[in-house]
């Protein structure tokens, strides 16, 4: 096989393109610009850490099924860790979002990074909502019977039935987490490709 032939292979092209955009030193950097020194930057990694714990606790709950946590003290504790990691996840993500807003973090060709972040937030809201209506307790009864009106009024209720436990559980543990994790991965890779947005340049107190 000739070198030219190898160069034309889809695999070779994909690898070169990937490593061109994201060489190892960008994917796993060992230095960063000095301006990246604020507590606000902690909330991005906190969001990721909380997401991992949400997934881990969710996997444990999934192993024993959707009703295990009602009858087992261990199951109830795992459910509690699931709840609190979700609360921390949203708290950190919303602070992260506001921080990025005030940094105008979309500057310098980073607008798609912002877009993927917002879509991830919206997908996460949907994931949490479907979790609340899948709890198989009073909360899920009340939340689903109230939420149906908002969703039905838009026409979406014709295919997205919040009173259908099986459908909501599938959305909660398969479809939406898959979307949220995929979007988060893309978002993080975009941050690594473009780097952290630099500060506004100021001259005599005014932005340039």
């Amino acid at each position: 096989m000739s070198t030219a032939e190898i160069e034309r292979q889809w695999t070779t092209r994909l690898r070169k393109r990937a490593t061109g955009h994201l060489p190892p030193e960008k994917l796993l950097p060992d230095t960063q610009p000095a301006y990246v020194s604020s507590w606000i930057y902690v909330f991005g990694v906190t969001t990721l850490a909380a997401l991992m714990l949400v997934i881990l606790s969710g996997i444990i709950l999934a192993i024993r099924g959707p009703q295990w946590w009602h009858s087992s003290s261990i199951g109830h504790f795992v459910n509690s860790t699931h709840l609190w990691s979700v609360e921390i996840f949203f708290f950190a993500m919303i602070v992260h979002l506001w921080g990025k807003f005030f940094m105008a973090a979309w500057r310098g060709g980073r607008s798609l990074t912002w877009v993927t972040g917002v879509v991830t937030f919206l997908a996460s809201v949907g994931t949490a909502f479907t979790g609340y209506v899948s709890q198989t307790n009073f909360d899920s009864q009340w939340i689903s019977t109230q939420a149906k009106d908002g969703i039905n009024a838009t026409g979406a209720g014709s295919i997205f039935n919040v009173l259908n436990l099986g459908q909501m559980l599938m959305w909660h543990i398969v479809l939406l987490p898959l979307a949220a994790v995929l979007l988060t991965t893309i978002h993080v890779l975009m941050v690594r490709v473009k780097g952290v947005v630099p500060p506004f340049e100021e001259q005599n107190g005014a932005t340039k």
């Binding site: 960063q32 709840l83 979309w106 909360d139 009106d149 014709s158 099986g166």
Partner: protein, 313 residues
């Protein structure tokens, strides 16, 4: 050769300053450990809410008159479900957003006939009982206008409904089989058999609780319990959950609109608030591309706090 002018809200200046050591793996590991410990601490201290789901059995035993009134409402078409419209039935056109009736356009995809699904079919699943069997035969063989007349006559006396000796009593004449149907459905509910009939109406296996949930929500028992837990819409209930837990605090803005004019008095509030939140979500999504909005961060200068070390250097 001309160069494009620098746009401060779109372009970023090239950073020519110094770089400092950064251990991304160590940072991630520390974050997982710290957040993990915090999660375990919060879970240990506060746990999570788990109020048992209510059943039709619990409802009908706690408040048989509310149950029987709701069952009558399913027969006379006065409950929320009976009057709902799409996606359950065609009883109403549904909410409108200007000229658009989105639910009606999407159609009836989850058909629910409250008379058939909540009263007649569950009663028909009971073991043979002579008076009930006669009542069901009388009902099923009657014309729609006759059924309506019986239900109307029973409804006329329903405000004086009482519960005594395990019986629902309504001072009504010419109500045909309706008293027997309401009484037997109430007995069925109090025994727990109606819970099962509503769930397994479509077969042995099911994960779909649409019908029992709609029926339970048509009564006032569920709402009264929810009110005690501060879960009503007027109590910002959309973002709450039972007990003193944070709930879905991230839905505060969605809930907020329901508390203020014109939405708090609008009969189309659900579709209006959904549309407004959809619009706001799109604005947030497209913020980097919207002149004016994308300039806010530069003008409010919060970034000087975030990068204060950089600017003081």
């Amino acid at each position: 050769m001309s160069t494009k002018p620098f746009r401060p809200d779109v372009d970023a200046p090239e950073y020519k300053g110094k770089y400092v050591p950064y251990d991304i793996i160590k940072e991630g590991t520390i974050a997982i450990i710290v957040v993990g410990l915090l999660v375990v601490l919060l879970a240990t201290l506060f746990g999570s809410p788990d109020e048992r789901a209510i059943t039709v059995k619990a409802w009908s035993n706690a408040d048989p008159i509310d149950f029987a009134t709701t069952a009558l409402g399913e027969l006379n078409g006065s409950t929320v479900t009976a009057k709902y419209g799409a996606p359950y039935n065609t009883a109403a056109p549904g909410q409108n957003l200007g000229p658009l009736r989105l639910a009606q356009f999407a159609g009836v995809t989850i058909p629910v006939n409250t008379v058939r699904d909540f009263v007649i079919n569950p009663l028909s699943s009971l073991p043979y009982d002579k008076p009930l069997s006669a009542a069901l035969t009388e009902w099923k063989s009657a014309s729609a206008s006759q059924q309506k007349s019986w239900v109307s006559n029973y409804t006329a006396g329903a405000s004086k409904m009482t519960w005594s000796n395990g019986q629902i009593n309504v001072p009504a004449t010419n109500a045909g089989p309706v008293p027997e149907l309401i009484n037997k459905l109430t007995s069925m509910a109090r025994s727990g058999a109606l819970d099962q009939a509503l769930v397994t109406g479509g077969g042995f296996y099911t994960t779909n609780y649409t019908k029992p949930l709609l029926f339970v929500a048509d009564g006032t028992y569920l709402a009264n319990l929810a009110q005690k837990q501060h879960l009503l819409g007027s109590q910002w209930g959309m973002m709450n959950e039972t007990g003193s837990y944070p709930g879905q605090a991230w839905l505060w803005l969605y809930t907020f609109w329901y508390q203020v004019p014109p939405f708090n008095s609008s009969s189309n509030a659900d579709v209006q608030v959904s549309a407004l939140m959809g619009l706001l979500s799109i604005l947030l999504l497209l913020l980097p591309f919207i002149p004016g909005l994308r300039s806010i961060p530069r003008k409010v200068k919060v970034y000087r706090l975030i990068w204060r070390e950089h600017y003081s250097a």
